[in-house]
């Protein structure tokens, strides 16, 4: 039993112990501080361990406990992949706990959050460590269960109850899909250990079925369209720091599951599997961000943008699959690295943004952007870090979001070397989708920041807003710093990812830290290169140069006055552009096919006094196509079958009698 793994297993154990203690002591006043402090410490230890493993790169280590499935035992294994995802999980866990130290104080019913929060963290850690199907699924579903309990924390409002319900049903649907996938991988003999699955290669059809089932199972947890319906309901319903965990971290655990099975256990992929994943990823990215643009609830907007990022990640995973299937190891390594890098980045800025939303929520009590505005004056620090989050997620240099998307595009540019025509044509198209989603993301977050923090206050709640506590601010500032660092020093991250990519796609990206001036060069400098650090330095220098010159040689006089606004008299704040009106042009452009949206204007008759009204009706197409029929069918079946509860005894006897006769007939006709 390897010591590292032992240490890593003690972590979840400690977390579970914390959960139990929290359940016992959750009504104490100090409980919040204690619990989040404990989780902070534990996650930090786990983070350090995993990071050192990833950096030190001593290969794999495994351990087996006499738990779980009797004849398999609970197996755990630490390799590059799980180490990386452990880093992601526990980095998120650490910072979220830090945030929770402050934010948790606002919780009205702490006893509904505190016990489940450590359990949730423990579940995610265990998923990443598990090395047999049973432990994996157990931890997976335990993770869902804990997060469900957290979603139900505010159980008094109808919305979160509904969210929780849909969430857990979808989660167990996903688990069933994974269960079937593992059933196929394990075979009739029931060898549930991953090591055994790794060696046994399923035939083509089985492999295809496993891929589809993984897309269903892991995809439903990660939020791939059309399995995303639960995500924008559940993530916002939870307390904000939990939303950050669910959106920033849990979706990544789902991606880990996908990678573990498809890249590791399944053996050599078929080229069409790449096509499937690519297309789903591209569509998910575009639809997700379009939905986000239409939202006016800040947290729901963030949840939808999570869907977009998941799409980007899956697209580049699909690219990696396609390259791997054609034996282009270096290109596969590039795409795979890009995906993992984006995983890390998204965990940074999505957590940051959800923290910001939480700060806004606790400062104003509002999630609806139509009631916010002008917060930049009230929450200076929060607004600044939120702005950094927005810039990062909009993939703008020199921040981290751009670095990973740039790598994705570089990977896409390798596509002409692919032999299959389908891929040759599809990959650039998907590239176009990704570019579109990136541009829309920028639009979306201009809206998110502009409506929430800029302009004038739209409600009295904003006037009373005060900057949030130190803990929350500290957490957000740390994340913002990470966003910048990962953006200007991408080479460091890429190199530390080499231990992950090497075993899974058989190749690694060239060493980046050796490059002059710390720039990153995926293939060759003559092809393409990017140096976030220099770009950052140049922009800073030239901006400050300009500022200096102007203030030195030109005027620096300044006068405050009322807004000009083309000479219109100062209108009420309600006259500002609102979230909906901001999105209107884009809705006109894309709404037609994405939401089947229709705008109707009813003008009053000339001289009539009532105002003209604009009605916009939009449809959640995925919901209407996939979910309503199912619920309808179930409703119909229950309605029909329910009559059987109300038969008379004679009728029940008749049932028995007929059944007997039928069986006897079967027997009589038996060969």
């Amino acid at each position: 039993m390897n010591s590292t793994v032992a240490l890593l297993l003690c972590g979840p154990a400690a977390l579970l112990a914390t959960a139990i203690l929290a359940a016992a002591a959750s009504r104490l006043a100090a409980a919040t501080r204690l619990v989040y402090g404990a989780t902070l410490a534990i996650s930090a230890v786990l983070l350090a361990t995993a990071a050192s493993h990833l950096a030190g790169n001593p290969g794999e280590a495994s351990a087996t406990l006499p738990l779980g499935l009797p004849w398999t035992g609970a197996r755990f294994r630490l390799d590059g992949l799980s180490a990386f995802f452990l880093v992601v999980v526990n980095l998120g866990g650490t910072i979220t706990s830090l945030y929770g130290l402050g934010y948790g104080q606002h919780e009205s019913q702490p006893h509904r959050v505190l016990p489940f929060y450590p359990a949730f963290l423990a579940g995610m850690n265990l998923v990443v460590l598990a090395n047999d199907a049973f432990s994996f699924l157990l931890s997976w579903e335990f993770m869902s269960l804990a997060s469900w309990a957290l979603v139900m924390a505010h159980h008094r409002d109808e919305a979160s109850r509904r969210a929780g319900y849909i969430y857990l049903v979808m989660a167990s649907f996903g688990t069933m899909a994974l269960l079937l996938a593992f059933g196929l991988l394990a075979g009739p003999a029931g060898t549930y250990a991953f090591d055994a699955m790794r060696t046994a290669h399923p035939d083509r059809f089985a492999a295809g079925a496993v891929l589809v089932l993984m897309l269903l199972g892991a995809g439903s947890k990660a939020g791939l369209v059309p399995l995303h319906a639960w995500l924008p309901l559940a993530h916002p319903a939870a307390p904000s720091h939990v939303s950050a965990l669910m959106s920033g971290i849990m979706t990544k655990v789902a991606i880990y599951g996908f990678i573990r099975v498809v890249f590791d256990l399944l053996g050599e992929p078929a080229w069409w599997s790449g096509v499937a994943v690519l297309l789903i990823g591209g569509v998910t990215a575009v639809l997700g961000i379009l939905h986000a643009l239409m939202e006016k609830d800040l947290k729901r907007l963030l949840a939808y943008s999570t869907i977009e990022n998941i799409g980007v990640i899956f697209a580049s995973l699909g690219l990696a699959l396609a390259f791997k299937a054609n034996g282009m190891a270096s290109a596969a390594a590039l795409a795979f690295t890009a995906a993992l890098f984006h995983v890390l980045n998204h965990s940074f800025f999505k957590s940051l943004l959800f923290f910001g939303a939480g700060a806004v929520l606790s400062a104003t009590g509002e999630r609806d952007m139509e009631k916010l505005g002008g917060l930049i004056h009230r929450l200076p620090v929060t607004s600044f870090v939120f702005l950094i989050g927005c810039v990062s997620i909009s993939a703008l240099p020199p921040f981290n979001g751009f670095a990973s998307e740039w790598l994705v595009f570089q990977a896409i540019l390798r596509s002409p070397e692919l032999p299959q025509w389908g891929l040759k044509v599809i990959v650039p198209a998907v590239g176009g989708m990704l570019a579109l989603s990136a541009a829309l993301a920028a639009a979306c977050f201009v809206k998110a920041f502009g409506i929430t923090f800029l302009g004038r206050a739209r409600s009295a709640a904003v006037e009373r807003a005060r900057e949030v506590d130190r803990w929350s601010l500290a957490a957000m500032v740390v994340l913002a710093a990470f966003c910048l660092l990962a953006g200007i020093l991408p080479g460091f991250v890429i190199d530390s990812l080499s231990t992950v990519t090497l075993p899974l796609v058989g190749e690694r990206m060239p060493v980046q830290m050796a490059q002059p001036w710390l720039s990153i060069v995926p293939i060759a400098e003559s092809r393409s290169s990017y140096n976030g650090l220099l770009v950052f330095v140049f922009i800073t220098i030239s901006a400050s140069l300009a500022a200096f010159f102007i203030h030195r040689f030109a005027s620096h006089a300044l006068r405050r006055g009322i807004a000009w606004g083309c000479g219109f008299p100062d209108a009420v704040p309600a006259a500002q552009y609102s979230a909906v009106s901001f999105a209107q042009p884009i809705r006109r452009v894309f709404g037609g096919f994405a939401f089947r949206s229709r705008e109707t204007v009813d003008m009053p008759a000339p001289g009539a006094l009532e105002p003209a009204r604009v009605k916009v009706e939009m449809h959640d197409v995925a919901w209407e196509i996939f979910y309503q029929p199912i619920t309808g069918a179930i409703d119909f079946a229950t309605e029909r079958l329910n009559h059987l509860q109300f038969l008379t005894i004679r009728r029940y006897l008749t049932l028995v009698f007929l059944y007997l006769v039928i069986l006897l007939l079967v027997l009589a006709l038996w060969p």
Binding site: E639, N642, Q645, F646, T648, I649, R650, R651, L653, T654, F657, L660, V661, L664, L665, L667, A668
Partner: protein, 220 residues
Amino acid sequence: MNGLTFDIAHLLAGSLVLISFMMLYQDRLFALINVFALHAVVLALSVAWQAYIQDAHHLYITAAIALVFKAIVIPVGLHRIIQRLGIHRDIETAVGIGPTMLAGIGLVTLSMVLMLRVTPEADPLAREDLAFALSIILLGLLVMVTRRNAVSQVVGFMSLENGLVLAATGAKGMPLVVEISVAFSILIAFIVIGVFLFRIRERFDSVDIGALDDYRGERR
């Protein structure tokens, strides 16, 4: 065994099936009960005959129970109940006589077919017995499901049980036959008392769906 004993046993069992058909045909309660009394008598005879040919004396007890209890006590009791509940005028078949008869014929053939698949090595008497018993049981069930009235369903159940007794006695040296027949008599007593005491009104299914809904909040 010699042919005569076999023929007599065969005759008795066959006539039991015939009487079951007669039951299917009745649509008045009193008539039904009388026919059932006849059924019980014939059963008693055949059981006694089995007791004689297997010279298993404990079977005489079964025969006696059948005669006293089923042929006399129960029918009389049912007569009284019917008068109490004042339902002796009801026409109470849920399914028409014709279809019922057809179904009955189908059931008999079915049981014959099933039992003929049994390997001939088995004791021929047992085979015949089983075939007849099976058809009696199925016919009894048929009576139960084609009649609306509690009393006639009780009758159906009892004829079904007669079939069981027939089978049990037909099985050579089967232990516990007496105990079982006693247990069944008690069971039937329960049912009859249930009909009588609990005032399960005219039918088992008297408590209509609406009522169930009101009581259990199970309305859709």
